[in-house]
């Protein structure tokens, strides 16, 4: 197990967001967390990334208790995340954003008088990630001016530039057109193989993506793990399909909505 949550409970006042969640992620796995709105997915991600302290229970990353260690220390340990709502640096170019991630990974942020342009290792590593995510041609574009899909991609790419051992993606394809979703996922999986990322965890609403890419699916409902199984088993479980996924719409995909 790289990442493990044991009996995690989280209360917001009287409201119970997570009620005894246990899960584990193994080497080489792609795990998706699904569930209806309010199932506790975001809380779970925040607990798994050490951003929220669980009311009880423990989260262990590489055999280390990580509750409350904060994002900076967690990054150093080898976990990276992207956000549901796009997080970018509006005034930085694509390549500068990736360079910042590489500088962070190499621990060179306090080099006050060194030349960034002259740092070959940073330059090359950032360019490599840009190419990997198909952003090479746009590397000098300021992030604010990128189309929505590319902003999302840049957010994810900067997390990959940290070369994490595990990466948590909070809705990596939200706000992206259906046509772009698959492209993003393909890029993402290829990139994780390339950098040697040991596991991916994603929260995702698009069931085509979830069933198409996951090794294992964890279904959350009312703060509890309803099911934790490979995609085929989840699909076969009527109870899970009814409560979490919902019945298929009358016409599944003739005209998909513009923004998923």
């Amino acid at each position: 197990m790289i990442l493990e949550a044991r009996d995690v409970t989280k209360f917001y006042g009287d409201f119970c967001a997570l009620a005894g969640v246990s899960l584990g992620v193994r080497d080489g796995e792609f795990v998706s967390i699904i569930g209806p709105n309010g199932a506790g997915k975001s809380t779970l991600i925040n607990v798994l990334t050490g951003a929220l302290r669980p009311t009880s229970g423990a989260v262990r990353f590489k055999e280390r208790d990580i509750h409350g260690i904060g994002p900076v220390a967690l990054t150093r340990l080898g976990m990276a995340r992207s956000f549901q709502l796009v997080h970018i640096f509006p005034d930085l170019t694509v390549i500068e954003t990736l360079q910042a991630a590489v500088v962070s990974r190499l621990g060179r942020g306090t080099r006050l008088l060194a030349s960034l342009a002259g740092d070959r290792e940073v330059q090359e590593a950032a360019l490599e990630v840009a190419e990997l995510f198909g952003l090479g041609g746009k590397r000098h574009v300021v992030a604010r001016q990128l189309p929505q899909g590319d902003k999302k991609l840049l957010d994810v790419a900067s997390a990959f530039a940290l070369r994490p051992e595990i990466i948590l993606l909070d809705e990596p394809t939200s706000g992206v057109s259906t046509a772009d979703k698959t492209a993003i996922m393909e890029t993402l999986v290829a990139a994780s193989r390339r950098i040697g990322c040991r596991a991916i965890i994603q929260v995702e609403h698009d069931m085509d993506i979830v069933f198409g890419y996951s090794d294992r699916i964890i279904a959350l409902h009312q703060g509890k793990v309803l099911a934790d199984a490979p995609p085929a088993a989840i699909k076969a479980d009527r109870h899970v399909v009814d409560t979490v996924i919902g019945r298929p719409r009358p016409a599944p995909h003739p005209t998909p909505p513009a923004a998923g």
């Binding site: 956000f83 640096f89 500068e96 991630a101 500088v103 962070s104 942020g109 006050l112 342009a117």
Partner: protein, 318 residues
Amino acid sequence: MTGRVILALVTLAVLVLPLVAPAYYVLLMLPFMAYAVVLLGLNLLFGYAGLVSFGHALFIGIGAYTGAVLTTHTSVRSLEVILLAAAGLGAAAAMLVGALCVRYVKIYFGMLTLAFGMVFYTFLLKFYHWTGGDEGMRVLRPRLLGFALDAMPKVEYLAGPYYYYSLGVLAVATVVMWRIVHSPFGLCLRTVRDNPAKAEALGLGVTRYRWHAFVISGVYAAVGGALLGPPTGNVDPTLAYWTQSGNIVFMTLLGGFASFFGPVLGAFAFIFLQDTVMSVVPYWRLIFGAILAFIVIVAPGGLMGLFARGRPREVAAR
């Protein structure tokens, strides 16, 4: 390319200025160069880290009084020693004040820096025995690079050796700051300004970067402050008053905080504009208030922004 040509021309102009210009204007360049050093530092905090300090007169005051105390109470006369001492004391004060301030942002950060500035101002004003109170202290003429120039007439000393010495300090300060903003540290600072939460997610400790920027800007302000004393031969608490902090923020806005040289241009414009306006009308603050309002509403990029207009924003934002 045009940037390099302009820089070369400006360098040439300031080098020959004392040989061709009336002494009055040469002397006016002295406070400009001192403030330019201050502003290079202030803009690391303002333009690159996104924090507006209303208390940097504190560090100007520390620098200026360092020169006064050393020349009047000790046998130290060397300007190099004075500048180093000012830098050290500025750094020490900025480490302390910064540690308390950088946990806050926006108006809270601004108010906290203002508060510390007021404390120091009051100290200068009330501890008469040490600081001379509102009359301030004398600054004896410092030695430059080991040369005692006491026999030289004052104007000759200031418009000659002291001018070139200040220019040298400004040049070094500029080169160092240029390197800082183009270093990995400079990049990280801009991530912290743009999106602190994302910066943290990338493993960049936000408060640590802000603190570093604060300390560097404190050192610059103290060095600039130390250069302000010798031309007038006197320092007084108004150097550390909050209107002084306001003035340097104004200079930054006037020149344009989005560009590296903007604040330097702002200092230049401020000093010469103030001189011109004061000689025409007594109400120079009235005119300056109107200019400030105009900049904020019409030209938020400052003078540099006006020059850079028409170029794509990502270039102007550098």
